[in-house]
Each structure stands twice: as structure tokens, then as C-alpha cells.
């Protein structure tokens, strides 16, 4: 009975939603024109990076804070949790280990490239962080990197560093008038600094979400 009701209401909802979207008028405010008009002041050449790190910097600042919160939640569950399940990494196939050893430095290289190219085309700190974290998970699954225990001081600094640098830059911009309003001649350098720190922290956080639990 419950199943019937849910399926029926879901069907009605999707029908109404699709019908509404087919009737949707063209938007009155064209945000892409606004972004294109302000690109020169953003300090980067790629519109998505400009929106993420400059025009909508709040979103990104809060996003990294949300990621940190999720990591703290995972840490709270993992560290107090079942430590006896933590075992030495199981020895994987020799071929897998060799491939992981070859792939890991290339993934670090790809991450740096993605970080750098973010100013000009698709790429940026989040993609770089994801590749770094994937490299760490790959090494762990190949049995080359043990799971993480409670973090030491260096790991803690690495985890929160991106957020703190971003927050410090945002706070320093308060002297200019508004939070996260970069002066156009410094915007490129500031965004590169923030992205480099964010990329490293994101890689550690995303890897931590996996490695603290294993």
C-alpha cells in the first residue's frame, strides 16, 4: 500500500515538474553576460573558476568548512569506533602494487597540472584534490599505504590549512572594504595561493574520509 502511494505520487510529481520545465520562459537575468562583463577584474581566465573563487567565493569558503565538518564527524565515529578492525594492509597482487607505484607519481603530476590549468580552462583545486585523494586511496588498496590512525599535528595542519588560508585571505580583504573582494591587480595571485592550499587540504580531507575509516 505504502509502496503504491509513493510510486504514484512520485510519478505525478515528475509529470508536473517536467510539464512545468517545458513551459519555462527564458530567464530575465542573464548571469553569463554579467560574468563575462566582469571577467577582466576576476584575475583568472576561466568563468567557472572566476565564479567559484571570486564572484561566489562565499560558497567555496563554506564548502570547505562543510567538508571539514564531515571529516570531523568521520573522525569522531572512526577513532572511538572499532579499532580492532584496523589491520595491516593486506598484501595485494605484485602487478597491482607495481602499477600503483607507477601511477601514484603521475597522479600527483596530474593534480598539479589540474590546479595550474584551473585559471585558464576546466580544472582547479577541487579536481586536483580529488585526483590526489584517489592516488592515496589507490596506494591504500594496493597495500602500500596503511590506514590512518588519530592524526598528528602535521596532518591536522594539512587538513585545516586550506580553510585557514582561505579564511585569512578573506579576513585580510576586510581592510579593503568587503569580505572576499579581491583588488583586481592581486586577484590572480590570491586565487592561486588559495587554490594551492585548498587543493592540498582537499586531497588530504578526501583521502582522510576513506583512510581514517580503514
Amino acid at each position: 500500500m505504502k509502496r503504491m502511494a509513493v510510486v504514484l505520487s512520485a510519478a505525478i510529481f515528475s509529470f508536473a515538474m517536467i510539464a512545468a520545465m517545458l513551459e519555462l520562459p527564458t530567464p530575465v537575468v542573464n548571469l553569463s553576460d554579467v560574468v563575462a562583463a566582469q571577467m577582466a577584474a576576476s584575475g583568472v581566465h576561466h568563468p567557472v573558476t572566476a565564479v567559484l573563487l571570486n564572484f561566489r567565493g562565499y560558497d567555496t569558503l563554506l564548502e570547505i568548512a562543510v567538508l571539514l565538518l564531515a571529516l570531523f564527524g568521520v573522525l569522531a565515529v572512526a577513532i572511538s569506533g572499532t579499532k580492532e578492525t584496523v589491520a595491516a594492509p593486506s598484501p595485494a597482487d605484485a602487478v597491482v602494487q607495481t602499477l600503483a607505484r607507477i601511477a601514484a607519481p603521475l597522479m600527483v603530476l596530474a593534480a598539479v597540472y589540474l590546479l595550474w590549468i584551473g585559471a585558464h580552462r576546466a580544472g582547479g583545486a577541487f579536481q586536483a584534490g580529488a585526483v590526489l585523494a584517489a592516488g592515496a586511496v589507490l596506494l591504500h588498496l594496493a597495500g602500500l599505504l596503511p590506514g590512518w590512525g588519530p592524526p598528528g599535528i602535521r596532518l591536522r595542519v594539512g587538513l585545516v590549512g586550506g580553510f585557514l588560508v582561505f579564511l585569512a585571505v578573506a579576513g585580510a580583504m576586510l581592510a579593503q572594504g568587503a569580505l572576499l573582494q579581491y583588488p583586481p591587480w592581486q586577484a590572480g595571485y590570491l586565487i592561486l595561493l588559495i587554490e594551492a592550499c585548498l587543493g592540498m587540504s582537499l586531497g588530504l580531507i578526501l583521502a582522510g574520509l576513506f583512510l581514517f575509516l580503514s
Binding site: 509513493v6 515528475s14 542573464n30 553569463s32 562543510v66 564527524g73 565515529v77 574520509l209
Partner: protein
């Protein structure tokens, strides 16, 4: 009908499938998967609707990029909690509550 609208309509279908899954499925890991399907549907709607005119709008793309990372973090936290629940109770479902 432009390609963007087709993406948006697919997104609506994915979203409703995800909602139905969250409501109907008891197994927590499958429920988390359904929750992710829901989120992916929302992202498709956002990106698809932004592409229905010929302009490429970077603002929804940046929002979706933000959303993907947050969804990933939420999924990791949910999986950690589900694992903890399994370690404590040996079950992958939430305890039954008689409310009706």
C-alpha cells in the same frame, strides 16, 4: 526540445526515483545510494536548465561543482555512521519505530 531540457527532464526522473528509494528502502547503504541518486538528479536539472539557451552559464556549473563535493562529504559521513551502526547492532537498518 533542446539537449539541455532533455538533461533536466532526466534529472527530474532521477530525483523522483531517488526520493522513492529513500522512502521505500530500509537497507541503509541502498538508502544512501538512493539519496545520491536524488542529488545527481538535482545537479542534472541545474546544469540542464542552464544550458537550454545557447549561452553557457558558468554560475550553475560552479554551484553544481560545489554541490558534488558537499554530496561526497555527506555520503562519506553517512557511510561512516552506517558502519558504526553495523558495528554496534550488527544490522544495516534503522531500528523500527511504531508511530502509527
Amino acid at each position: 526540445m533542446s539537449a539541455g531540457l532533455i538533461f533536466a527532464c532526466t534529472g527530474v526522473l532521477l530525483f523522483t526515483m531517488g526520493v522513492a528509494g529513500v522512502v521505500l528502502i530500509d537497507h541503509l547503504v541502498r538508502r544512501i545510494l538512493a539519496f545520491n541518486l536524488m542529488g545527481s538528479g538535482v545537479f542534472l536539472v541545474l546544469v540542464g536548465l542552464a544550458q537550454r539557451t545557447d549561452h553557457l552559464d558558468p554560475v550553475p556549473q560552479a554551484m553544481v561543482l560545489t554541490g558534488i563535493v558537499v554530496a561526497l562529504a555527506a555520503t562519506a559521513l553517512a557511510l561512516a555512521l552506517a558502519r558504526r551502526l553495523f558495528a554496534l547492532t550488527g544490522k544495516c537498518t534503522l531500528p523500527e519505530v511504531d508511530d502509527d
